[in-house]
């Protein structure tokens, strides 16, 4: 499989960084210091120049076509056909997904015979189940008008656009072929099986509205509806959004904003809001983390509670509280099962009936001190400072680290000194120091939390030392511990831009390029730390509303 442009560019950037130190600072990306990449960026409210401006003014990096991820496929089919039919389908058969950073994406992966075979198997499953419910799905007395109406409606949901008459006629003919030789169930089964294997369903086809010659194209209404819906709901658009697309409502900033609001307000966005945060912070992989059961016997019982905490907390901040990034990062409350609250011990100052816990903010505050996050980036308690520090730098500050150079990265910890001391000894010299001088201090701030996030004051027989001198960020300075540092995160422009960057990756299912920098910066600045405003702003950016064709 060929390596596509976007990824190649990123990988190259990472590696070239090694020649000049630890990382390529994002402000230095692509020579962007001259600000050229920001020049043409438009964002919400800037006079609607994002719709139909001259090509030269639009800044957006190239994107490949996305193919539905497993989750998108499953959610879309479930939305179209209903839970009852979906329950009969083994979606686990769907081909594996690719990734862009932490985010799932198939923009880089071509299909092969076995993935097509997998699509065939799942489509036949859905077809079989739909065939058994043919009368209910059809919803009218079977005659020519009924069948045609069904094909139009169902075809529109599956293709995520209105079908041309000729397309409708082709599908109706396919229906009739199988109706003639079988039952209405056979016709339904065959039509559904076939439509789910078409490129219109499997890919997000973005042809654009600006004709065949343009390298940069504003997305056509239906294409934008799909981007929006997959972004905010993780599934294809509903009928109302398709109607808006057809009516041209999404083509201007106001209509687009109204659509974003409707989707965001809908409970179907909950999973996206939570899922983004779990994925961004690497918590979605908690299930596959290696945790030593003998050393942390509580872990197995607490693991699901840990993830539940983060889910409830994020949803509460966004739905019930102020929806601010600062609150996500620094809140002095959370939600925990009684077992998890007990595990947090002194960090919890009181527990409410609904599982809400009030935290002592000098001990624990916000997402980054939740056990789910701390465990996801611990690996082992001894190595935790490295993985946590790296996550802070890469996930929260969006620094691009180079992979460890070809050196032995094993540290043989023993009991001769604290883990902190041994990490410092092992990484302070040679090729390691460039990155570790930034990674380690961030991780050391979190030394009060053991391998699964429980508060501690001793590391074996050594007292825990959390104080550290942070370098390489816009919050450089000396901090006593993680809560003291976390308190400052809302002041960081780097963190605000990083969160915008992460949302953009998530929204576009592709790595960002240098021409997306303006969109990232504009959205961050408009959001002013409000998560919903950030999402609204991103949906209006050039990067979201346009596609630049990849280089041939």
């Amino acid at each position: 499989m060929r390596r596509r442009n976007g990824i190649a560019a990123i990988a190259c950037g990472v590696w070239m960084g090694s020649a000049i130190g630890c990382y390529t600072g994002l402000d230095g990306r692509g020579g962007g210091a001259d600000g050229a990449s920001e020049g043409g960026t438009t964002a919400a409210g800037e006079g609607g120049s994002s719709s139909g401006g001259a090509e030269g003014e639009v800044a957006v990096s190239p994107s490949e076509l996305s193919r539905l991820t497993r989750s998108e496929y499953q959610r879309t089919v479930t939305a179209i056909f209903g839970e009852a039919i979906a329950a009969d389908v083994d979606f686990g058969q769907l081909p594996a997904d690719g990734k862009v950073g932490r985010f799932t994406s198939n923009a880089e992966l071509d299909v092969n015979i076995d993935s097509l075979d997998a699509y065939r198997i799942v489509a036949e499953d859905v077809g079989e189940a739909a065939g058994a419910q043919a009368a209910a799905l059809l919803g009218c007395d079977e005659d020519a008008a009924c069948v045609e109406g069904f094909v139009r409606t169902m075809g529109r949901r599956i293709y995520r656009r209105t079908l041309a008459d000729a397309e409708v006629a082709r599908i109706v003919a396919f229906w009739e072929q199988y109706r003639t030789q079988g039952t209405v169930g056979d016709a339904m089964r065959m039509v559904v099986t076939a439509l789910l294997q078409t490129p219109d369903f499997l890919y997000r086809l973005e042809r654009g509205a600006d004709g065949d010659e343009a390298e940069v194209r504003r997305l056509a209404g239906f294409e934008l509806a799909s981007r929006l819906s997959f972004f905010l709901w993780g599934q294809g658009p509903d009928d109302a959004l398709l109607d808006e697309a057809e009516a041209g409502t999404l083509d201007d900033a106001e209509g687009l904003r109204a659509a974003v609001d409707r989707l965001l307000d809908d409970p179907r966005a909950d999973e996206t809001l939570v899922g983004f945060h779990l994925t961004w912070l690497g918590i979605d992989a908690l299930q596959t983390q290696l945790v030593d059961a003998e050393r942390f016997p509580q872990y197995e019982l607490l693991r699901d509670d840990m993830v539940d905490e983060t889910r409830r907390f994020v949803l509460h901040v966004l739905r019930e509280d102020d929806g601010q990034l600062a609150t996500l990062l620094t809140a002095d409350y959370s939600f925990a099962s009684p077992e998890l609250a007990a595990f947090y011990g002194d960090g919890v100052s009181s527990t409410g009936a609904d599982g809400r816990i009030e935290l002592d903010p000098t001990l624990r505050r916000g997402l980054l001190t939740q056990a789910s996050y701390l465990t996801s980036h611990a690996r082992t308690p001894e190595r935790a400072p490295i993985y946590r520090g790296k996550s802070l730098l890469v996930d929260v500050f969006c620094k691009q680290l180079t992979p460890p150079p070809g050196v032995n990265t094993t540290i043989d910890f023993d009991s001769s000194a604290s883990a902190r001391q041994q990490i410092e000894d092992a990484t302070s010299g040679g090729a390691c120091a460039g990155c570790h001088r930034m990674i380690n201090p961030l991780g050391f701030l979190f030394e009060h939390y053991d391998g699964i996030g429980q508060f501690r004051t001793e590391d074996g027989s050594w007292p825990v030392v959390t104080e550290a001198e942070i370098v390489g960020t816009d919050l450089d300075g000396s901090y006593a511990d993680a809560p003291a540092f976390i308190e400052r995160l809302p002041d960081s422009a780097e963190v605000a831009a990083c969160v915008s960057r992460q949302w953009l990756r998530f929204a576009l299912s592709r790595p960002e390029g240098e021409q997306d920098e303006g969109s990232i910066a504009a959205a961050a600045s408009q959001a002013g730390g409000d998560v919903f405003e950030l999402v609204r702003a991103l949906a209006q950016t050039d990067a979201f509303t346009h596609r630049r064709l990849p280089a041939p």
Binding site: R3, K99, I121, A194, D200, Q287, T380, P552
Partner: protein
């Protein structure tokens, strides 16, 4: 142990029976084993099988036990041992990329030998290669990556093994005579008409989309044509096994059914070979995850998380610091697991293959690391069993290279041979005589001469 429900011999009534084609079976298990209970004792030609391999005694004279093969591409690459699954059959170092964001690693950029071989000899069968697996294996979402997927069709093109025996059955045996011919013909016709419709849509989309997107749809169309060919092909007469029950996703992904699914998958593999549906059969046992709760049903002691047991085997994982007793128990559990695997291979696969098929089959069974505790990619345990008529290697031998010791000397180079040479040898054994390099040529070129 559970007995096979099937007749031990199924007649193969293809006219060409006299000139049996060569077949390759690749079996992979993760986390190695207890090497002290895996190593045979004795000399090269006069050796006694170990505890872990004892169930394969009947095949000792057809066996090559390889003690000293290094999974060199994993050793040279990043990830301190974790990415040996992606390197063992490909022979290339796992490159940087975004598939594993923690480690900033991507997919291997070369095909595995099963795919290399399938590409050359696969034309003759309905499936150039087929891949079976048993959960937990890295097919789903966040579990997947070059730490879990062993087989690659090409560069950055991972292959997911089929975990569901019912689906494997339907895919493999649809259109094989022996199923109701009228039903099979109807299903085939239906699938062809779906492919016609989808192909028409692809042609349309291909012309409507910008030119730079077209190679995407060209690849899709090519694969669709391959699929059509596969679906249209009616295989030779052979006996089709009983269709396995339908399983739910939860059942297929149940840690405690490894023993059940292993038997079902081996049964399907046997029949796929017997019916000549494929000549390259790959099977992956669970890699680093799962539990040993099913072991008592197989006559062994139960154990907990395989991952933890593997790490507890040695003192090398400082954070675990097992006691001597814990370590001894973990080593026994890993040896038991390997002995059980040997027994499965013997009783559920090899014993039940008819002689003419078995005689022309080469089985290669390997792990990506020697012992899970050390995560050492040196001296990975490899057993080859070569059919009587296969004639590629001199069998009935226990071959050693280097001075690897699982307890005291497991990470340094001690004179082992790179896996890449073995991969070349396997290609030669399968008739790809012109292959001189598999994977990274800077690791090695040419075959493992001592096998001849």
């Amino acid at each position: 142990m559970m007995g096979g429900a099937l007749a031990p011999f199924l007649p193969r009534s293809i006219a060409e029976a006299a000139t049996q084609p060569k077949r390759l079976i690749l079996v992979t298990n993760g986390q190695g084993t207890d090497m002290t209970r895996w190593r045979p004792t004795g000399s090269e030609t006069d050796f006694t099988l170990s505890y872990a391999l004892a169930p394969l005694e009947a095949y000792r004279d057809r066996m090559l036990v390889l003690d000293g093969i290094d999974n060199e591409a994993a050793i040279r690459g990043p990830g301190t041992g974790h990415f040996g699954q992606g390197t063992m059959w490909t022979g290339v170092v796992v490159p940087p990329g975004t598939v594993r964001p923690e480690e900033m690693l991507g997919w291997p950029t070369a095909p595995s030998i099963d795919a290399i071989i399938a590409q050359r000899i696969g034309e003759q069968t309905k499936f150039p290669a087929y891949y079976w697996g048993v959960w937990p294996i890295a097919t789903d979402g966040d579990n997947q990556g070059p730490n879990g997927i062993c087989h690659y069709r090409g560069s950055e093109d991972p292959i997911n093994p089929q975990l569901n025996p019912a689906t494997a059955f339907d895919t493999l045996f649809e259109g094989v005579m022996g199923t109701d011919p009228a039903v099979a013909a109807r299903i085939r016709a239906e699938r062809r008409s779906v492919i016609d419709l989808v192909g028409g849509e692809l042609e349309r989309v291909r012309t409507e989309m910008p030119a730079v997107d077209r190679d995407r749809f060209d690849a899709h169309l090519d694969s669709l044509r391959e699929l059509e060919k596969r679906i249209s092909q009616v295989s030779a007469v052979c006996e089709v096994p009983t269709r396995p029950d339908d399983f739910t996703q939860d059942q297929v992904r149940n840690y405690d059914l490894v023993h059940v699914f292993t038997r079902l998958q081996f049964e399907l593999m046997r029949h796929a070979l017997l019916c000549d549906l494929t000549r390259v059969a790959c099977f992956d046992w669970p890699h680093s995850e799962g539990y040993g709760n099913y072991m008592p049903e197989e006559g062994y002691r139960a154990f907990g998380s395989i991952h933890t047991v593997a790490h507890t085997m040695s003192y090398d994982t400082p954070e675990l610091m097992p006691t001597d007793e814990e370590r001894a128990i973990a080593r026994e559990d890993m040896a038991n697991l390997q002995q059980w695997r040997s027994a499965m291979l013997a009783t559920e696969l090899l014993d039940k293959l008819p002689a003419d098929v078995l005689d022309n089959t080469l089985l290669v069974w390997a792990s990506e690391m020697s012992e899970g505790g050390t995560h050492s990619n040196r001296n990975v345990p490899i057993v080859m069993i070569q059919g009587q008529g296969f004639g590629a290697f001199t069998a009935g031998r226990y071959l050693r290279w280097g001075s690897y010791d699982p307890i005291t000397n497991y990470s340094e180079y001690t004179g082992g041979q790179p896996m890449n040479k073995l991969l070349v040898s396997i290609c030669h054994a399968m008739g790809l005589d012109d292959v001189d390099v598999v994977g990274d040529a800077t690791i090695s070129t040419g075959p493992l001469e001592e096998l001849a």
